[in-house]
């Protein structure tokens, strides 16, 4: 249907060859964006893992004579107010953010899928109860829910992971429930019921494998949000403790230096932006591939 609609409107001003060309360009564009996004994300992860190998400097050791040096060859990103090499700190600083966001998306995907699948498959009272609970969690603006949980548990990476996980679970549960609900009506599930397959068998063999691709796409989209939340928490001082390098914390510590050393808050923030951008490109690309109705947009 989408094809018919599109060609009807495009016919007026574009010749067929150009149209075909445009279609290929768009397709290549999407794959390109997703590929570049994915590769860049991999690059960011590798950089933060291999930070000690990549940099000759120590991320924590104070070196006062070197303080607030502008970007130069020995210090590509300059130095901070304690004379520490900023590039080194940006390399190390991805660790808490990436750890928090990857683990919390993983945990939220597992928990949310479990809740959503159970609700969608069992239906009735269980469904009602679980979904009302999810509704209540969604009544908090997600950032606020994360802040509330950290407020209760205290600061630090493990608590930040719990906080971000909780704020992401409702979305996964909703998506998984909708998918599970539509799958239970599919013929192969109905047939499987008819030949006497048990509930767990159906969930394990039929529902979960079919849920997985859309959940992975959802997880990529949520990863962008998780990185944003994790860095917001550390910006607020609710993540790692100084002097541990961390992107959000570095922006927060550097913000009063904008008058004379803009590079201090600039580079860690740029790192967050580029990481989220890469995740968004990857997520958009994956979503377009999975959802054919969006492909021609």
């Amino acid at each position: 249907m989408a094809t018919v609609r599109r060609s009807r409107s495009d016919v007026e001003h574009t010749p067929a060859v150009t149209r075909q060309l445009q279609r290929w360009q768009a397709l290549a564009g999407q794959h390109l964006a997703a590929t570049v996004g994915g590769l860049f994300l991999l690059f960011v992860v590798l950089c933060s893992v291999a930070a000690p190998l990549l940099s000759p400097y120590d991320p924590i050791q104070i070196d006062i004579p070197q303080r607030l040096q502008a970007p130069s060859w020995p210090h590509l990103f300059g130095t901070d107010e304690f004379g520490r090499d900023l590039l080194t700190r940006v390399l190390y600083g991805g660790r808490p953010v990436l750890l928090t966001s990857f683990l919390s998306v993983l945990a939220a995907a597992v928990a949310g899928t479990a809740i959503g699948t159970l609700a969608g498959y069992l239906g009735g009272r269980v469904d009602n109860l679980l979904m009302r609970l999810i509704d209540v969690m969604l009544s908090f603006p997600a950032v606020l829910l994360a802040i509330l949980i950290v407020a209760a548990l205290g600061t630090g990476v493990p608590n930040a992971i719990i906080a971000v996980t909780f704020s992401l679970v409702p979305t996964f549960a909703r998506v998984a429930r909708a998918l599970a609900l539509s799958l239970t009506l599919e013929q192969f599930v109905v047939a499987s019921h008819a030949i006497g397959a048990s509930g767990p068998q159906i969930i394990w063999r039929h529902l979960l494998p079919n849920l997985l691709p859309p959940i992975i796409v959802q997880a990529t989209a949520m990863l962008a949000i998780a990185v944003a939340f994790a860095s917001a928490l550390s910006f607020l001082g609710l993540g790692v403790e100084p002097p541990t390098p961390d992107w959000g914390l570095m922006v927060s510590e550097g913000q009063r230096l904008i008058y004379d050393a803009l590079w201090v808050p600039f580079f860690p923030g740029l790192a967050i932006t580029l990481t989220v951008l890469a995740v968004n490109f990857l997520g958009d690309g994956l979503r377009d591939r999975l959802d054919p109705t969006l492909r021609n947009r």
Partner: protein
């Protein structure tokens, strides 16, 4: 109609659940709410007396009942740090945050909707790609960072806007409701109004720019959906000028999903405002919430979170109702 009534009846239940969840999360914690105060007081008897005063010596369920009872009468407890009632603190700190969120939403809507329409009508041309690229960039930039960068460019370098604060130092202004725009309008204080606008521009832009990315994407896809409908073609075939077809016929119909998104984004905006406020020393709920967390001032954290969640739930309900009035098909069913 029945749907609306059920939504309205559901509202108090959600509010109760939100309040209870906030209470529980904050009480089930390992930390002692007395921790901060106990550092200042050495005498155990004194600590016990304060505990009793705040009801912390009672079993959890009694504390919960007292909390619900207080909440029902509009009392949110007393701040342990300042000794002021939380409701009074909120009345003072809530208007700046809501003002900021509303102006940000206005900016996000103006930029997002226009960019979305332009992008939909230039589909797959350079303008469209550029607009979509900017939208993804916008929604990828963290609030706090774009805020700092805007301060650097427009306040430090160009000196077009002030670095922070709500209104200029030395500008006369009156406080009635503490909604600064409303107050200046009521008193006819144009200089104060101008100064307030000047001060809100940068923080609102910081939040508005990032949010406009979401609005733009939703507007674009919704416009693309609508542009192929019969009524748009028939409007064109009747010879209406293209701009009227686009901004009148098409956009009006494309706005429904956009409005839903705006309602949902309002919560994110409030969250964003809480964070952006810190950068601009905006005297709103953000600073209060963060101080409350760091000092373990539970009444303040509890009150702020519950208030924002209440506001968010009510805003979503309002959007739902508005939606029903906009779409005649939903109104009749």
């Amino acid at each position: 109609m029945r749907y609306l009534i059920s939504r309205l009846l559901w509202l108090p239940v959600v509010l109760w659940a939100v309040a209870s969840l906030t209470f529980l999360v904050l009480r089930l914690t390992p930390g002692d709410p007395m921790g901060q105060v106990a550092n200042l007081i050495v005498d155990q008897a004194q600590i016990d007396r304060i505990r009793a005063e705040w009801g912390l010596d009672q079993p959890l369920w009694q504390q919960y009942l007292a909390f619900l009872g207080n909440l029902a009468t509009g009392s949110m407890g007393v701040s342990m740090a300042s000794g002021m009632p939380v409701s009074a603190l909120l009345a003072q700190k809530m208007p700046p945050t809501i003002e900021l969120a509303l102006v940000s939403m206005l900016i996000a809507t103006l930029i997002g909707v226009s960019a979305g329409v332009i992008s939909a009508t230039t589909r797959r041309r350079a303008v469209d790609f550029a607009a979509r690229g900017l939208a993804v960039l916008g929604l990828s930039i963290p609030w706090f960072w774009i805020a700092i960068m805007l301060i650097f460019i427009f306040a430090v370098q160009l000196r077009w806007f002030p670095v922070g604060g709500r209104i200029g130092v030395g500008v006369d202004y009156t406080t009635i409701t503490n909604f600064i725009f409303l107050d200046q309008l009521l008193t006819g204080n144009w200089a104060g109004l101008a100064s307030a606008l000047h001060h809100i521009a940068l923080p609102a832009l910081a939040i508005g720019l990032t949010t406009s990315g979401f609005v733009m994407r939703m507007t674009r896809s919704s416009m693309l959906e609508v542009l192929h409908r019969e009524y748009v073609r028939s409007a064109r075939s009747r010879g209406l000028p293209e701009h009227r077809v686009l901004w009148g016929h098409a956009l009006r119909n494309a706005m429904l999903p956009v409005i839903t998104l705006l309602g949902l984004q309002f919560g994110a905006l409030l969250g964003g405002a809480v964070i952006t406020e810190l950068v601009f020393s905006w005297p709103g709920m953000g600073r209060m919430l963060l101080d409350g967390i760091l000092r373990r001032d539970y009444a303040v954290v509890q009150g702020t979170v519950i208030f924002v969640a209440f506001f968010y739930v009510t805003a979503n309900l309002a959007v739902d109702i508005f939606y029903h009035f906009l779409d005649p098909r939903l109104r009749e069913s």
